[in-house]
């Protein structure tokens, strides 16, 4: 039993650019999200009705999470945070379909997303305080803390990515073990718990931690 991502095919030749099953499910979920977004925002009206209400509710709920931590810049960071939240949430929910593996159960996916947040938080901090002012802020309050601050800065993307990866993979392994021991109706509530509840909570948490890293770098 090997729970990791399996190499399905290669993009070029026989050994270049391996394509794993998690990557394929990730592409499928990206396409589904694009189709869903196009459908929900097709003909927008001043007075929202029907499907437009759903889209506005989602966007307003995410904006309400960003606004208290990054005052005045909610709409500026909304595209990044909403993309992270919707992609991670959709990837976790797609694990409900039997035979598909969640793209977030692969460290490559989560580490990629966490590195994007890492780079953007440093860029936002440099834009706020200037390049030299931002670098100088690592040596505060005492210069002895410089190595500790740098190490804790590099621990951020690692813990950010491992949190999502560990939760999804742990749930997947427990569900696989239960399937081997007792197939049938018993794993169904476990799917509801690990895929629906933990998946959505982890997506929310991934977005919220991204907001808090950006706001820490800016202050």
């Amino acid at each position: 039993m090997n729970p990791g991502p399996q190499v399905v095919t290669y993009l070029f030749g026989k050994s270049y650019l391996p394509v794993t099953d998690t990557l394929i499910v990730g592409w499928i979920s990206v396409v589904l999200i694009i189709i869903l977004a196009r459908y929900l925002t097709k003909d927008l009206k001043i007075r929202p009705e029907g499907k437009q209400n759903i889209a506005e509710m989602l966007i307003t709920a995410i904006h309400d999470q960003i606004e208290p931590m990054l005052p005045g810049e909610g709409w500026k960071f909304l595209p990044l945070i909403a993309t992270l939240f919707i992609y991670v949430g959709f990837s976790n929910l797609i694990g409900l379909i039997p035979g598909s593996t969640s793209p977030t159960g692969d460290l490559n996916t989560t580490l990629g997303l966490a590195l994007v947040v890492f780079l953007i938080s440093h860029y936002a901090g440099m834009k706020e305080k200037g390049v030299w002012g931002y670098i100088k802020s690592f040596g505060e309050p005492v210069i002895f803390l410089l190595p500790l601050n740098i190490v804790s800065e590099f621990a951020k993307p690692i813990s950010h990515s491992f949190r999502l990866f560990g939760n999804i993979v742990g749930g997947g392994i427990i569900i696989t073990l239960i399937y081997q021991a007792a197939p049938g109706l018993i794993p169904v509530p476990l799917h509801a718990w690990f895929d629906l509840f933990i998946g959505l909570i982890q997506a929310l948490i991934f977005g919220m931690v991204a907001i808090s890293y950006i706001s820490v770098a800016k202050s």
């Binding site: 090997n2 729970p3 990866f165 560990g166 939760n167 993979v169 929310l204 948490i205």
Partner: protein, 84 residues
């Protein structure tokens, strides 16, 4: 000095890594206690100030995430020990 065959060495390494994975999950005690403590404090805070419920829940979740990281690290190490 006793010469051990490769199969015996392989078996010893496998069993030792499974035991080590079980020991690594002892780390789950810490995050459990910490997150429960945070949730209890948040409950009493909501009881004192029911109108500040939203921001209390957000702060509690952020604190629980940070304290829950150690448990996730131990889980990742246990998975690594068992499946490699």
């Amino acid at each position: 000095m006793v010469e051990l065959s490769p199969e015996v060495i392989e078996m010893v390494i496998r069993s030792a890594s499974v035991i080590a994975a079980g020991l690594a999950l002892i780390a789950g005690i810490g995050p459990g206690v910490g997150m429960g403590y945070a949730a209890g404090k948040a409950t009493s805070a909501v009881r004192r100030q029911p109108e500040a419920r939203g921001s209390i829940v957000t702060t509690m979740l952020l604190g629980q995430i940070i304290s829950g990281s150690t448990g996730i690290y131990s889980l990742v190490i246990a998975i690594y020990l068992v499946f490699t």
